[in-house]
Symmetry: C2
Subunit: 278 residues, 2 copies
């Protein structure tokens, strides 16, 4: 196997705890780098050039877009006053403040409505689909940005806490109706190599012809165990409420995380900025 092929196999083995038959293919370097993705929350004290950020934005905006509607926007936050507010509002993620660069990926359904006005043609799709398509477009662009940034040697960390105060963020960034934040993104030069976060086995997530999760409970238990062998959780969430568990792992961590309401006002905000979710 080529060097890139070996790297790809090693990254996927660490990620999924599985052996993959790596095919002979072009682009193994790129695949190996993508398989090696890692979230980065610590940054070297070195600026990210504005021209690099601009180029990465353009590369990301070259990604596919639903019906060619181009419903994703990016806000580059460079003003320290604006940044300080966002840092504060994403409070439980101290790496937000630490990141040399910070972007906000937004969904934008506003332009579509303006296009309809422009041609005096009624928009006949003001239902859940309009919200959904714009949100997914933003996810597509975010994903492409992360891949491009990592290719350039940068580290990133998406921040969904940006939506904890979606209306405030929206006012701060001057987002008009029908434009909403989907995720923030910390960007900077990695302070250390970081690590690959293990993922659920592909048997749970890649299906052939019919959805088949097999014995989901057993697979989750095995994943919790595998993950704890290499990257155990440093602390347990909310022990005051849930106590301390000897077998604390991913599934318990996630259950505890979503046992507290988060963004319960997100739907009201989305409706307030003009979306119907019928």
């Amino acid at each position: 196997m080529t060097d890139a092929g070996s790297k790809l196999a090693a990254a996927l083995a660490e990620r999924f705890g599985e052996d993959f038959a790596i095919p002979q293919t072009a682009g193994l370097d790129a695949l190996a780098r993508m398989a090696d993705h890692r979230s980065m929350r610590a940054y070297a004290p070195r600026e990210v050039p504005a021209s690099l950020i601009r180029t990465l934005c353009a590369v990301a905006l070259s990604a596919p877009t639903k019906s060619d509607l181009q419903q994703a926007d990016i806000v580059i936050v460079s003003d320290p006053t604006v940044r300080a507010k966002l840092d504060e509002w994403c409070g439980e993620n101290p790496w937000v403040k630490a990141a040399p660069a910070f972007l906000v990926f937004c969904a934008n359904n506003r332009r579509q409505l303006r296009i309809h006005e422009r041609h005096a043609i009624a928009f006949a799709n003001d239902h859940l689909d309009a919200f959904f398509n714009a949100a997914v477009d933003a996810g597509i662009v975010l994903s492409a940005f992360v891949t491009a940034a990592e290719a350039a040697g940068l580290g990133t960390c998406p921040i969904s806490a940006i939506r904890n105060r979606a209306a405030d963020v929206s006012a701060l960034l001057g987002l008009p109706d029908r434009v909403f934040p989907v995720a923030g993104l910390c960007v900077g030069w990695p302070a250390h190599p970081g690590g690959i976060s293990p993922r659920l086995p592909t048997g749970l997530r890649v299906h052939e012809n019919r959805y088949d999760e097999g014995d989901l409970d057993a697979a989750i238990a095995a994943y919790d165990e595998r993950r704890n062998r290499t990257r155990p959780f440093a602390k347990q969430r909310d022990p005051a409420r849930f106590g301390t568990s000897p077998a604390y792992g991913w599934s318990q961590d996630k259950a505890r995380q979503y046992a507290a309401p988060e963004r319960a006002d997100f739907g009201a905000y989305i409706r307030k900025i003009g979306f119907r979710l019928d």
Copy 2:
């Protein structure tokens, strides 16, 4: 400038009609390839090896995921009977039938609920956020798959018509409640080089500190014109309803497209499979 730098500059210039100051950076090859993204709807008569598809799925599932929840799944459609149904249901996209391989990217909020059951901890976030996060995760994975596939030399075309009959697709693929299709994806070896689809100027979509779309109408008019210079629309939508326009372009095409209801039942389907969208 390096060869890759020149390629990147050329692709972005064609895409956005703008000159970018390409910085010196690692990964210029990868950025150039991503900037050169093109949807591909015609395929060489040559199979895509199953091992390659599986590897690309694993690479795509290595992309970031909201709160580490891993809420995206992929269904590989290899059974000709299943495929024939999907081809039929995505009827207005003949390239679906033509594609050697076809995948369905799904959002999966089911595992999260199962994790809560497993630990007997109530899920306190059964509102719009749950639907949103799973949908965006699927978009992130779709985007990563497309980038990875293009690195391997493949061409792809996302198919949102898969949701035109979401309930039928769901039954066909055996998707349980809280799992829904987000997009199909045609995959195959390109039959021709294809072309770069021009996009709106980045001035409309990349903002600094505050959203600023400037003179949106003028920018859209200029974009319609630029696009028509290189890739004019071969035919006009629904001339019976709208007549024939001498200045037909992107904005008119999109307004006409969404003048007819599409997926008006998507919200009802999403609620039926268990989501609350409050």
